[in-house]
Amino acid sequence: MATDINPAPTSPKIVSPELMFTATKHSRKRQLTENVARGVFFAMTLLMILPLILIVVYLFVKAAPILSLEFFFSNPAKGMRAGGIWAPLLGTIYIVIISLLVSAPIGVLAAVYLNEYARESWFTRIINLAVVNLAGVPSIVHALFGVGAFVYFARMGRSVLAASLTLAIMTLPVIIASTKEALGAVPMAFREACWNTGATRWQTIRGIVLPNSISGILTGVILQVSRAAGETAPIMFTGAVFFKAISEGDVFAYGLLDRFMALSMHLYQLSTQVPGVPEALEYGTAVVLLGAVLMVNALAIVLRVYLRSRQRW
């Protein structure tokens, strides 16, 4: 046996306290490994947030000269080379809200059915498989579906409604999946305890399952806001246009069947299609888009913390 190993505490040999805490070759090596491991993990964490911080700071610095209330509330002007972002901002808000008004109720209710009512069968297995696969379909494919189904077949034309419905189709499977996950996190024992008292499925869902999964459900839904706001492809084909002047400051400026501008598309046009756009304008648009998404995500976190604090287990 090597002499530099600390004797185990159970060893019958009496060890002086000083000797027990003296560093040995092995313990020094162990400590070194520990420090290296911790250092590497910490470095990777830094590496991960560094780009994020850089992007945000860079964007804000570049956009600083143009950020003002007027920037938010005026339409783009002079062939996109001046003015603000009112029309695209309002357009994005419209399509995000309308698409979620459609996809959130359908998605959440369908997930409740799949998770709480449906029995395991070939039918539900196919639906679950479809949900998972649909969630992975690229947005450009959803865009083409939207063109076929809403723009032409349903004769909505290229419009706010057609684009919103396309985004709804795109976000639906993800909402179903995240809602199912939130519902599945509620322990089965709670449901069984309710059923044993003669409560119906709905009474159990209403009394136990939903109150304890609502934070997860809402977080999943809200995260789709940022996805819907950021996508360009699905709206490009279904209603977003290069330029459309609307009355400034009027929140009801778009009709459901109007074409519209949207932030994501606007940013794309500014940076690639129009020569001579002031840099600040591009970065200003990017900051607003990023800011909106970050704000919604922050809202999701706050809501989650709040609802989680009311959750009882």
Binding site: A193, N196, T197, G198, Q311
Partner: protein, 254 residues
């Protein structure tokens, strides 16, 4: 003592999960207002038996049931309103499940689902059920605190209060005393003896002595079969019908 009216009649009841047989055709009757002890080693089908009575066995996707369970002469498989059936049967399982809501709401949950809304009526019911479960004195000042924050033993008594809250005619207890200290177990046992005048109790227990103390009759289930059922004087005597029963009861098994 129990009267001779049959409350539950079980005939040729067999249950299997997939290919695993949990009950291999057992038949016996439970009389009204008796405490029937059910003893037997783990995996012998006792819990399955209880689940078949209130049809929560239906939540096991692989379970297949044959034979019949009749309550008051009605085959439970034929009962349309299964929630009504479950309301007539109180269930207490070995691991206490406090619902994530206040102590009050835990007990008021079942009455509310049954349509009772009046506050005074609920108050009275909650107090009575908590009294019956020997929990009232400990929680009467904090009825609004969380049921899940109670200790294991208290949660188990909360579960018993919840099982009583829908005023069942039959109470099934599945090893209720596992998480409860001996003193509290005694208090609950005393309460069960009182409840016997109103309801029929099925007491599944691993503690042979508990069945001996509490039950009027005891059934011994072993390897998914009913070995013997009879008055406690017989089961716990030196001459039960089966040698297996004697060995199990006296701890000389195997």
């Amino acid at each position: 003592m129990h009267n001779s009216k049959k409350k539950i009649e079980i005939t040729d009841l067999a249950v299997r999960y997939g290919t695993m047989e949990a009950l291999k055709g057992i038949s016996f009757d439970v009389y009204e207002n008796e405490i029937l002890g059910i003893i037997g080693p783990a995996q012998s089908g006792k819990t399955t038996l209880l689940k078949t009575i209130n049809r929560t066995i239906e939540f096991e996707p692989t379970a297949h049931v044959s034979g019949s369970v009749k309550i008051d002469g009605l085959d439970v498989q034929r009962i349309k309103n299964v929630n009504q059936l479950r309301r007539r049967i109180g269930m207490v399982f070995p691991l206490p499940v406090g619902l994530p809501m206040s102590i009050y709401d835990n007990v008021a949950f079942a009455p509310r689902t049954a349509g009772i809304r009046k506050r005074s009526e609920l108050d009275e019911l909650v107090e009575r059920c908590l009294q019956q479960a020997a929990l009232w004195d400990e929680v009467k000042d904090r009825l609004n605190s969380l049921g899940t924050k109670l200790s294991g033993g208290q949660q188990q008594r909360l579960t018993i209060a919840r099982a009583l809250s829908h005023q069942p005619e039959i109470l099934c207890l599945d090893e209720f005393s596992i998480a409860v200290d001996p003193v509290t177990t005694m208090r609950i046992e005393d309460i069960l003896k009182e409840l016997r005048s109103e309801i029929t109790i099925l007491l599944v227990t691993n503690l042979v002595q508990q069945a001996r103390r509490l039950a009027d009759r005891t059934a011994f289930i072993f390897e998914s079969k009913l070995i013997e059922i009879g008055d406690n004087d017989v089961i716990f005597s030196n001459t039960p019908a089966s040698r297996l029963t004697y060995d199990y009861v006296n701890g000389t098994f195997g």
